[in-house]
């Protein structure tokens, strides 16, 4: 993305075809940067509703959000025309024609037409007239979500969309069967160990899996597989991939292969026309990861408005939403990594395989069940930064040792009271000088008088000293037990650490 290379490219009147998240993002960023060349900004969307957050469709399926909560913010200064299907382009006169016969002139046209679902050619999935069988739907739009009904759901296809859909529908309390041809869901992304953990997670959620099975025939309310009993359904959700929506570009004579062909500046074969998102050739290996489309929208918005581009190189991060299972895939697993770190603790649902290049950076990774490691690795991978030398601490998500607040001071130079910088040695000295209690030590050293959190430790120290070093006969009386000035409440425990402090499995494989 050479976003900054064509600065001051006078964008003029900009028309964006496609009001999905990527088209909307472009419009939003152009408005934010200042689409200030006096041109107009128009967003044309074929769906009859205003732009919405497509990635949140699963939040509708699982009952978390109502349909209307998905709507994207209005873009100030942009004209947004929903229910407007573009039927053709006049590249000579630079006009967009719509189904209703309207024309929109443009100086710059952006195709953000997205992708369309591929319906699996299961025999029986369409009626004689070619329509999908009643109760069968793909899952790409709000309207698709609204079509899902009944309690018994069969999801066909164990790719990212199929898995997320199955999880979301299961979370809403439905009976869900996921049918997948591969050995386990997401098998194009995950190795067998990670796949195994995913299967266990899905099973624990109550998603029934039929892996290694093909759909043989679909009849109303029934799916016949190549093996085993048929599955009964109220809704049949077809999640068998998407393909770039290129009809418009193709009809206009633009270069199209599987998707619209663009150069590094997202220009199509017509320099007046750009393309971004899922309609673009090679946009993501598995079409659909929005991050790529977002990155493209950001780069193009910067280029069209002369705004400095962030210059961030989009990294390939796959992070599906799986209801409690932290799972992520960074990059493409390679065979020739300089170093491979593997951690496998299947009994606790944890696995990581990290390939590291010669410069110590993540070249690819698969991480399951290690939320902190996944978050940190993703940041390092995105920023192309080297891994910490302590790989184990990274994978365990451990806070490394160093200045632990809770650890008791043992050497005379250890600070007990941080607020007043009082060492153990100073307290021992004051004790010997006759300060035989928390309050007396506070008077002598100021320990415990700041935040008060070291009072327990000072009390323990007093107890310890009075056992090991009996008080001199003439010493002043100790004052323990009469001191209610100080906050003696123990600290709240470090809940996160406690949670993660499951005993480290020494047998865990750490090659």
């Amino acid at each position: 993305m050479s976003g900054g290379s064509d600065k001051r490219d006078s964008a003029g009147d900009v028309v964006i075809v496609g009001g999905g998240p990527v088209g909307h993002r472009l419009a939003q960023l152009m408005a934010r940067h200042g689409h200030d060349h006096g041109g107009t900004l128009t967003l044309l969307e074929a769906e009859p509703v205003r732009p919405y957050h497509r990635p949140l469709l699963t939040s509708v399926l699982d009952g978390g959000l109502r349909l209307d909560a998905l709507r994207l913010p209005q873009v100030p200064g942009a004209r947004c025309a929903p229910d407007t299907t573009v039927t053709g382009l006049d590249r000579v006169r630079r006009r967009v024609r719509t189904a209703s016969g309207e024309e929109y002139p443009y100086d710059t046209l952006v195709l953000a037409t997205g992708a369309e679902p591929v319906v699996s050619p299961v025999p029986g999935i369409r009626t004689a007239s070619g329509r999908l069988l009643d109760g069968v739907t793909t899952l790409r739009t709000l309207a698709d979500c609204a079509r899902i009904r009944g309690d018994r759901i069969v999801v066909l296809g164990g790719g990212p969309l199929g898995v997320e859909t199955a999880v979301a529908l299961r979370r809403s309390g439905r009976d869900v069967v996921l049918v997948h041809r591969g050995p386990y869901p997401l098998d194009r992304r995950l190795d067998a160990t990670a796949g195994d953990l995913l299967v266990r997670h899905l099973t624990s959620l109550g998603v029934r899996l039929r892996c290694g099975r093909s759909a043989v025939r679909l009849a109303p309310g029934e799916l016949v597989l190549d093996d085993g009993p048929p599955l009964v359904w109220d809704s049949f959700v077809c999640c068998t991939g998407v393909r770039p929506r290129t009809r418009l570009a193709r009809a206009a004579g633009l270069a199209v292969r599987a998707g619209v062909v663009v150069d590094g500046a997202l220009r199509t074969s017509d320099p007046r026309i750009r393309a971004i998102g899922d309609c673009v050739e090679g946009s993501g290996r598995v079409p659909g990861p929005l991050a790529t489309g977002r990155d493209q929208a950001e780069a193009l918005a910067a280029a069209l408005t002369g705004h400095p581009s962030t210059g961030r190189r989009p990294a390939d991060v796959f992070r599906p939403r799986l209801a409690g299972l932290p799972l992520g895939v960074l990059g493409t697993p390679e065979t020739a990594a300089a170093e491979v770190v593997t951690y496998s603790d299947p009994a606790r649902g944890r696995y990581a395989r990290v390939s590291v290049d010669a410069a110590g950076r993540v070249s690819s990774a698969v991480v399951v069940g290690l939320p902190e490691a996944l978050a940190t690795l993703t940041q390092l991978f995105d920023a192309h930064r080297p891994l910490p030398a302590d790989r184990l601490a990274l994978l365990l998500g451990r806070v490394p040792a160093g200045r632990p607040a809770a650890a008791a001071a043992t050497s005379p130079s250890d600070v007990v009271c941080h607020c007043n910088n009082v060492t153990r040695g100073a307290l021992v000295h004051a004790w010997h000088g006759g300060s035989r209690g928390v309050r007396a030590l506070a008077g002598a050293t100021r320990a415990t008088t700041g935040c008060g959190s070291c009072a327990d430790e000072v009390r323990r120290l007093c107890a310890q000293l009075s056992v090991t070093e009996p008080a001199p006969a003439a010493g002043p009386p100790a004052d323990e037990g009469v001191d209610d000035t100080y906050d003696l409440a123990p600290h709240p425990g470090d809940r996160r650490l406690r949670h993660d402090r499951a005993p480290v499995d020494r047998e865990a494989a750490l090659p």
Binding site: L72, P320, P371, G450, G452
Partner: protein
């Protein structure tokens, strides 16, 4: 510590006052030996009071504050730069005449806005008030602002927009102890306000949002460590989770707020996995934090400088306020949102007119009715009040430039150390025709001055301070000031008279100034009209607003705001439509690390006070840069080495401290040190568009061993 608080007026008894430093304003008692000149050299003893905020506690700064009264280089005489360039002693009449005549000359030649004033959040209410009045009337300048811009201005802007009123904590500090859960976003009170931890320690659970594992974070049940500059993404994501999990308070949102839908449309884009990628905070921890807050009967969301000191600081605070509103916390007894104000009088200092756009009582200088009220109290036609001036950094950046101020009066601030891009600000200060600094020690800014005016410090003066909880407190004189030092109130009066103002317009008795402040604030948002020295001296705990009630019983003050209604005309709180954007700078190969700045336990602000306390200097003697051991190793540095930290603006020399809990992409520098150790040599000048807060918390830097040659070659102009 159970003995009763002695009457502040008891002869020879200890004097009840407050610590000179932070906004917690711990109660203390001072005991000075002897009287008059004999006392001037005698030691002063301090004891913590059993005051509600500190409950008999004090941190090391508070315990050692009396030694500030005996600072060996205490300013004791006015100084004027002589022909040879040295600051030489002169008499008070002489210095006042000199300053007044030069101000008159500059004003005559370049107009009233050629003279500017820079105040401070440590000044008493009386001084802040009179300084604002002096600027508007005696100088006739619009060019006045103060260092509170660098402190909590983002929280003030966001709080005002959300609630219609900005009081740091709209509830007493002691309420926090009753909480089940407290979220601290970008605050480290275990170091910056230790006695506050007494209250937080009693609360059920702490959630700390901070890129660093600070002493506060170590005491948290849950520590969320977002990448520097991504706090707003986290706040948006937490709102997202509250809504998608259905655990937000729909009734509170419906009945007490407006604007939820519009705010949600932005938060909708911040689903947990996306937030994780941007912030580095794992999805389960985000969810856990939201569940802890939503599942609490009593919960608070508090912000500090870590959320506020960004070029999107106001939006970031608004993001956390939105979260609090969605959970129904503000306006509910035992729950709420608050800002942990930093400076001693950071609250009162922002209410009484030393801010470019404000008049006393938190009134607006642009509002005709507000202008009319204040002008009436001041006995001038409203047209005599100038309009709004430049914000702090914008003001400093124009000093000595074409069309910018040519003279600056500094009261209670040390911008040569505390302002962003400190080298640039120092150049601007040096470009002035006249720099006058009123201080009690020779601060780094005072050393640049043409005229230095020795003034009083905390234990030598009377006045009021307004703490972070909006409670008005009496600061009391316990010791005699050194001969030669005069109060700021006196200085302002003497200068005003020399500039042609009537003397009675500038009382120098703090009590009289406060009486006038009461009238000026009456009917304003921060209404002090019902507060008197008598009521405060009688031990009343008075929180503003506290109205004057001539006919009825005395107004009891307002410890808790918003319980019935918010301060907007419709009584509702407003969600703000905010979206995340990153810091002004991005990391690149030249500057691959984030530097973030902050405070240490042993020091306060620019350090001009605490660096003069030997015990504190022993605890934290020199500039340090904390970094992860890997980061140090890659730079060829080890613990204790001297490093150069370089940004596009400047270079700091600091001692390396290895901190294994730091992110490998982040280094931390305290900003308390002078000269080549000024962390603000690194910080940038990107400002928040609403609050004009500079971006102190994120600067792109690189780190090399001190003396490294490649640095010089790579350094751009």
């Amino acid at each position: 510590m159970s003995e009763p608080i002695p009457s502040p007026t008891a002869p020879d008894g200890p004097v009840a006052t407050h610590c000179p430093y932070c906004a917690l304003q711990c109660g203390t008692r001072l005991r000075a030996a002897g009287h008059g000149d004999a006392a001037a050299a005698a030691p002063v003893a301090v004891e913590p009071d059993d005051f509600p905020v500190n409950e008999g506690g004090l941190c090391q700064k508070g315990w050692t504050a009396p030694s500030l009264l005996r600072a060996p280089d205490r300013l004791r005489t006015p100084l004027v730069r002589d022909a040879s360039g040295r600051l030489a002693p002169v008499s008070w009449p002489e210095v006042l005449d000199t300053v007044a005549s030069r101000l008159r000359a500059i004003r005559a030649a370049h107009g009233p806005d050629a003279v500017a004033v820079f105040g401070g959040g440590g000044l008493t209410n009386e001084k802040a008030y009179l300084l604002g009045k002096f600027a508007r009337l005696a100088l006739g300048t619009s060019q006045i602002d103060y260092n509170g811009r660098f402190c909590m201005s983002s929280a003030a802007a966001a709080g005002t927009a959300a609630f219609g009123l900005d009081r740091g904590l709209p509830f007493p500090v002691t309420d926090l102890a009753e909480a089940d859960t407290v979220l601290l976003a970008g605050a480290n009170p275990a170091e910056t306000m230790p006695p506050l931890m007494r209250h937080l320690g009693r609360a059920g659970a702490l959630i700390v949002v901070d890129p660093r594992r600070t002493p506060t974070a170590r005491r948290a049940a849950l520590h969320l460590a977002p990448a520097p500059g991504t706090d707003l993404a986290l706040a948006l994501g937490m709102l997202h989770i509250a809504v998608t999990e259905g655990i937000h308070d729909r009734d509170a949102v419906d009945q007490r707020t407006t604007g939820f839908e519009a705010a949600w449309r932005h938060a909708a884009a911040w689903w947990p996995e996306r937030v994780e990628r941007v912030t580095g905070v794992p999805v389960p921890l985000q969810a856990e934090a939201v569940r802890m807050l939503a599942g609490s009967r009593r919960a608070y969301v508090l912000t500090g400088r870590g959320a506020e000191q960004h070029s999107n600081g106001t939006d970031t605070v608004a993001g956390f306020v939105n979260l609090a509103l969605a959970l129904g916390l503000p306006g509910r007894a035992g729950s709420g949102y608050g800002c942990l104000t930093g400076q001693g009088n950071g609250q009162g200092g922002r209410e009484h007119g030393q801010k470019a756009d404000q008049l006393p009582g938190y009134r607006s200088i642009a509002d005709p009715r507000d202008r009319e009220h204040v002008a009436r109290v001041w006995g001038v036609p409203p047209g005599r009040l100038p309009g709004p001036g430049r914000s702090a950094f914008e003001l400093l950046d124009r000093l000595g430039t074409e069309g910018g101020p040519r003279a600056l009066l500094v009261f209670g601030s040390n911008p040569a150390v505390s302002a962003p891009d400190a080298a640039r600000v120092t150049r601007r200060l040096s470009a002035l025709d006249l720099l006058v600094v009123a201080d009690f020690v020779p601060s780094e800014t005072a050393r640049l001055a043409d005229v230095v005016l020795p003034v009083l410090q905390w234990a030598e003066e009377d006045g009021t301070m307004t703490s972070l909880e909006g409670r008005v407190l009496r600061r009391r004189r316990a010791v005699s000031p050194p001969r030669g030092a005069r109060s700021e109130l006196h200085v302002l009066r003497e200068l005003a008279v020399r500039l042609g103002e009537p003397a009675d317009r500038y009382p120098e008795e703090p009590r009289l100034v406060f009486e006038e402040l009461r009238r000026a604030s009456a009917g304003g948002r921060a209404d002090y009209s019902g507060i008197t020295y008598e009521r405060l001296d009688a031990g009343e705990a008075l929180y503003w607003p506290c109205r004057h009630t001539p006919d009825g019983p005395a107004h009891p003050g307002t410890p808790r705001l918003f319980l019935d209604r918010f301060a907007h005309p419709d009584g509702r709180a407003r969600f703000q439509e905010v979206d995340h954007r990153g810091p002004a700078e991005t990391l690149d190969e030249r500057f691959p690390l984030w530097a973030t700045t902050g405070r240490l336990l042993a020091h306060y602000q620019s350090g001009s006070q605490t660096r003069r306390v030997p015990e504190l200097m022993r605890a934290a003697p020199e500039p340090t840069v904390e970094m992860h051991p890997d980061t140090a190793a890659r730079a060829g540095l080890a613990e204790g080495d001297l490093a150069w930290v370089q940004s596009a603006r400047g270079r700091v020399t600091a001692r390396v401290g290895l901190v294994p809990t730091l992110r490998t992409d982040t280094v931390f520098l305290p900003f308390h040190f002078p000269d080549g150790g000024r962390a603000n040599l690194l910080t940038g000048t990107a400002l928040d568009p609403r609050s004009k807060m500079p971006e102190f918390k994120v600067s792109a830097v690189r780190v090399v061993p001190a003396g490294h040659r490649a640095t010089r070659e790579n350094t751009g102009p």
